[in-house]
């Protein structure tokens, strides 16, 4: 188990990789959204997450003793070295799936960053202070859409309900108390994932009810292992796309 600076670095990778990989997925929506306003909104959310990722990966590289830059960490790590959860890795689905994913992820990030504002690491704390506002906007955006889709047409109701089901297997992992997070929490740097659970579920549950939907909870399997580098099958394909050009020109500046 890493300690001190390397613990903080490891923890920054958790946060940074979630943000980076979800930004990558959201970027796929640009020019493919249901209306132009949504191309902009999803692009904006992706940009916020990318900004968080850049700050956090830079911090990880500063603290882990390797002197790696944000780009070294984004483009030259292999799949097993990424620390993102399966939820953000899932391939782009329909718009209902994206809103279900965003609702959960942004609500989780709201609680997470609210807790991290008091992190002992000044960079984590500064990122959190900015990100807590961003994620509130992301959450509100998702909430509005879940209400519209849940309480819209018969078709949208069914699709939104199916989407809540589709993201369900990936939720528990957000609240797993992995070793790094536990250590970071007790070092005053991070937040304990399990401590965020109730507030997130309550908030999402409330939106779901107002959207005339029901919160599914029966699940025969659940994702595990993102924080120790065990990823969804789609992750390698995502990385191939993301890293190909950078890796094709080692040592180049852009």
């Amino acid at each position: 188990m890493p300690q001190g600076d390397s613990l903080t670095a490891a923890y920054c990778l958790h946060l940074g990789d979630d943000a980076l990989i979800y930004a990558q997925r959201l970027g796929e929506w640009i020019s493919r959204a249901p209306q132009i306003e949504e191309d902009m909104a999803l692009g904006n959310i992706g940009l916020d997450l990318l900004g968080q990722a850049r700050a956090l990966l830079t911090r990880a590289g500063e603290l882990d003793g390797t002197g790696r830059s944000e780009d070294d960490l984004a483009y030259f790590r292999d799949e097993r070295d990424f620390r993102s959860v399966h939820l953000v890795e899932q391939p782009r689905g329909d718009f209902g799936f994206e809103m279900a994913r965003l609702l959960w992820f942004a609500t989780y990030q709201c609680e997470l960053y609210a807790a991290l504002v008091d992190s002992r690491d000044p960079v984590v704390s500064a990122v959190a202070a900015k990100a807590v506002k961003e994620s509130a906007y992301h959450r509100d955006h998702a909430e509005q859409w879940v209400l519209r889709l849940g309480d819209g047409t018969d078709e949208s109701h069914v699709r939104m309900q199916d989407s809540l089901q589709a993201v369900l297997p990936y939720l528990a992992e957000l609240f797993d108390d992995d070793e790094v997070s536990v250590a970071a929490a007790s070092a005053g740097v991070g937040a304990l994932p399990s401590a965020l659970h109730d507030a997130v579920v309550e908030r999402v549950g409330d939106v779901v009810v107002r959207a005339t939907l029901t919160l599914p909870h029966e699940v025969t399997w659940r994702s595990r292992g993102g924080r120790i580098g065990v990823h969804d099958q789609s992750m390698g394909h995502l990385l191939a796309e993301m890293q190909h050009i950078a890796r094709s020109h080692p040592g180049a500046s852009w």
Partner: protein
């Protein structure tokens, strides 16, 4: 059709007076039907170009070679969506609505700029689009900030501000590549070679000679929609861009390109108008792909838009019920 002399009424505040006085026409003002339809067509084509223009660069968001460049590119493509929105709104002040215009785009009844029918083969293309395509667009658009139709002019002011930012970013991408590895330099030169002529074609056919488009330009000029001829704008673009290419250290693929001291302008070679007409008529490399990408997004989002409007109706009905 040109307005006849008798149509040019001179009652105070009339269309002709406003135009003559270089005043803005606003949505509430009377205006000739031909002016209205010309503007709708032009603004819609412009809006469509922004929306379709998201694709060639958008294809590189997932592969941008640094996170900083990825962020800049995402923001840029997002700006293009924003430009599309301003412009559709400007068109809507003329009594059409966005979904109608999008239908016309999707069915091929309205055009978008042919430049977006070329594929983006390398990362350097993202730079070349910013430098050359946005550069040419600005050249076309700056005069539109003084266009006679108020909402269009105001939209263009916002658009131009962002476009010149994009143009600088594109230049900066190529600047970095041109000072990079051999492979990066080759990539930058290749992109300049491929985008130069299509960029020149963005100004449209020549104003005189065999390939000229006839009275179109003249009418638009009289109406204060157009301020400069295609050839004048093209020349301005060449004059501005050649020194930039020199600064970048990139050559341009035209052996006839040289400074003419007498004219005070750069001379340049003959444009392959056949290519332009072919691309305009829909025979561009990416024509079908661009439209089908756009149509697919629209079709796949239909259920979402329907839900949003059903929800808005329900909410309005509930609010009414609550009031009543």
């Amino acid at each position: 059709m040109l307005p006849t002399a008798t149509e040019r009424r001179t009652t105070p505040g009339s269309f002709d007076e406003l135009i003559a006085a270089e005043q803005r026409i606003e949505p509430r003002d009377e205006m000739p039907e031909a002016y209205r339809t010309t503007l709708i067509r032009q603004i819609a084509q412009h809006a469509h170009s922004e929306i379709i223009g998201m694709q060639p660069e958008g294809s590189w968001i997932s592969r941008a070679p640094s996170l900083r460049r990825k962020a800049i590119l995402m923001a840029k493509v997002q700006d293009e969506a924003g430009h599309g929105l301003y412009l559709y709104s400007a068109a809507e002040t003329l009594g059409v609505d966005r979904s109608e215009l999008l239908d016309k785009l999707h069915s091929g009844r309205q055009k978008y700029s042919s430049i977006f029918n070329y594929p983006t083969a390398t990362w350097a293309d993202v730079g070349a689009i910013g430098w050359l395509v946005d550069g040419a667009a600005i050249m076309n658009q700056v005069p539109l900030c003084r266009c006679s139709y108020g909402p269009y002019a105001r939209a263009m002011i916002r658009v131009c501000k962002e476009e010149s930012f994009h143009q600088r970013q594109g230049f900066e991408i190529l600047w970095t590549l041109a000072r990079g590895t051999d492979a990066q330099r080759a990539m930058a030169q290749d992109a300049a070679d491929r985008w130069w002529w299509p960029a020149l074609m963005m100004f449209g056919p020549p104003d005189s000679g065999e390939a000229a488009s006839g009275g179109h330009t003249e009418q638009s000029m009289a109406w204060g929609i157009k301020r400069f001829s295609n050839d004048d704008l093209r020349q301005k673009f060449v004059d501005m861009t050649v020194p930039q290419a020199q600064k970048l250290g990139l050559s341009l693929p035209d052996p006839d390109l040289r400074w003419n001291d007498e004219r005070g302008h750069y001379d340049f070679g003959a444009i392959d108008w056949d290519e332009l007409w072919r691309v305009i008529k829909g025979d561009g490399p990416m024509n079908a792909a661009r439209i089908s990408h756009r149509r697919r997004a629209h079709d796949e989002g239909a259920w979402v838009r329907e839900a949003a409007s059903a929800y808005a109706d329900k909410t309005a009905a509930r609010a009414k019920g609550a009031v009543a």
